[in-house]
Subunit: 340 residues, 2 copies
């Protein structure tokens, strides 16, 4: 069965210059995929033509007269950009024209619009942003990465449920392990909200492994790592910063002398293979979980390879019916409570 | 003038096996340094003898009959370990026998004991843990790294004052820049505490540059980065985890074939030079700031090279009279307020 994804054609730092080649790449890789490119059809048509492509049954254009700016306040975007490419793409999901949508635009606006248009699932208070991150053992799903700050214990617990539903769906592992991000310094570890969330998760049906610390995330000790959005966002961006700094210093050493440049040349295929393993593009595509619909956020600065990866994430979530799985996790929870 | 540092001889994952060679290394590197090794004098004497060394005027032994375990609750250590190597080392600072102390032991216990014995500086509510971290441009001082969770705006503001005092002292830069760690996703960025702290710092005499995000830390955009201890601890440990994962995958690629092993052999000096640049041992030695005395925490798993580095951090803080500089920052603040 074919899957239809609506793309915010104008979103991201590079707009159609990345979305259009990203869309073409995704179509090539997934034969049963159909795309609806939303935005200024003239601009999008030109981008397609420049790549020797044209609209067709697998790639429709859908006009939208506005764009959400990357630095626009979410509330302003929600109120004043009702015909933006982002809003229209989300509307297509609501109307059942598309099975999911992908945007590289303003995260806050996407969250606000998706929440307003699609609504949260019954039993979910706040949607969360979840992404896979590479680990020594494979990868892990981390949430929330910035949708909610000062999350209370109940919210953290809901993140655990949603993360488990996602991991179970995309990994084919019905009992993914879940850890709660904490610190090991305080008297009784962490803060009250985290401790209360631990109690909630531990007494649920979830496969809880306890607290994990920052360095455990990349060790892959848990399939799902739960944290407040402030903490998760800082952890994610800090990780990006460290990786960039390491790359900076490594490149500098390989440029230091003619000999080191020669060795660098010989080492290039090896370093490239290594780089591919932890390439952030492989992990592009963060899920907005907890909505009555599938919305995937591509990194604003993503290139077309990374954008195509985000489309694949959306496709996978459609195939695995992730929102229904989240609802089922909630039902299991209620059933377990009633059985007590 | 000679400087005397008391060392918790039994602290850390490796105890005297690291502290003793670390002490000898520090003595070699700093001719005007004197050390007091605190702990089980029989064990410490044996460790010294095994390295062809003996107590003398520059290296005194001071007996303590107890040890604080790495997993001991701080409150228990405070109440029941009054003759522990950690407690006695801190006492020596209080009594003026030592100018500072260094411990690789239990962080929570060290903080609790140091706070109880030395007291905080007038005007400082809560001590913070501050460490230098490498950046693309050099390094930056980050606090709090885990002493305080759920820090209020006023506490974050005091962290800024203390971090600036430390950076000014050890960098010889009287106007270090200070940034407040935040996330860029929320409607009005971050949470209320961070926004209020921003107002406090911005209206003070400090050289405030505004909000910084996780990836900015390693770009070196600010000389001092301020955050809550939960967030800082997660960011620090996550960074360690990413660096370890990168190393893991890089080593794996260089082991993949005889050719890649050969290239790896040739690249080793280059990779080593690069590794030294971001070697965590270079950045060992976190300062417990805000106390009436100088206390430096060495990483629990540090080796002797790293431990010696922590001793050097303590020496530098003694030379620059960091606690007095923090008090002076508080006075500048009050003077500026009165002038208004």
């Amino acid at each position: 069965m074919s899957i239809t994804i609506a793309l915010d054609g104008m979103g991201g730092d590079h707009g159609p210059a990345v979305v259009v080649p990203g869309a073409l790449r995704a179509l090539e890789r997934l034969p049963d995929l159909r795309l609806i490119l939303v935005g200024d059809t003239r601009v999008l048509g030109r981008e397609l033509a420049a790549r020797g492509a044209a609209p067709g049954p697998r790639l429709r254009l859908h006009h939208a007269s506005q764009e959400v700016a990357m630095d626009e306040l979410p509330s302003v975007a929600l109120r004043t950009k009702k015909d933006s490419s982002m809003r229209v793409a989300v509307n297509l999901v609501k109307e059942g024209e598309a099975d999911a949508c992908v945007s590289a635009g303003n995260t806050g606006a996407l969250m606000a619009i998706a929440r307003f248009v699609l609504k949260t699932l019954p039993g979910i208070d706040r949607p969360a942003i979840c992404s896979a991150l590479p680990t020594v053992r494979g990868h892990t799903h981390v949430l929330d990465l910035g949708a909610n700050v000062d999350s209370c214990a109940e919210t953290l617990f809901q993140f655990a449920l949603m993360g488990v539903a996602l991991a179970a769906a995309v990994e084919g592992n019905e009992r993914p392990t879940v850890g709660l991000l904490n610190i090991g310094v305080e008297e009784i570890k962490g803060n009250e909200r985290v401790r209360e969330a631990a109690r909630l998760i531990a007494s649920s049906h979830l496969n809880y492994i306890g607290f994990v610390e920052g360095d455990d995330v990349y060790e892959g000790v848990a399939d799902v790592v739960v944290c407040d959005g402030f903490v998760g966002n800082v952890a994610l961006k800090t990780s990006e910063g460290v990786a960039r700094m390491i790359r900076h210093y490594m490149e500098r050493e390989f440029r230091r002398s003619p000999w080191s440049r020669l060795v660098g040349l010989m080492a290039r295929p090896i370093l490239r293979a290594f780089g591919e393993r932890i390439d952030p593009r492989r992990y592009n595509g963060a899920s907005l979980l907890g909505l009555q619909g599938i919305v995937v956020k591509s990194h604003g600065s993503a290139d077309s390879v990374a954008f195509a990866r985000a489309v694949e994430v959306a496709v996978q979530e459609v195939r695995q019916a992730v929102p229904r799985r989240i609802s089922r996790q909630l039902e299991s929870l209620l059933a377990a409570k009633e059985a007590v």
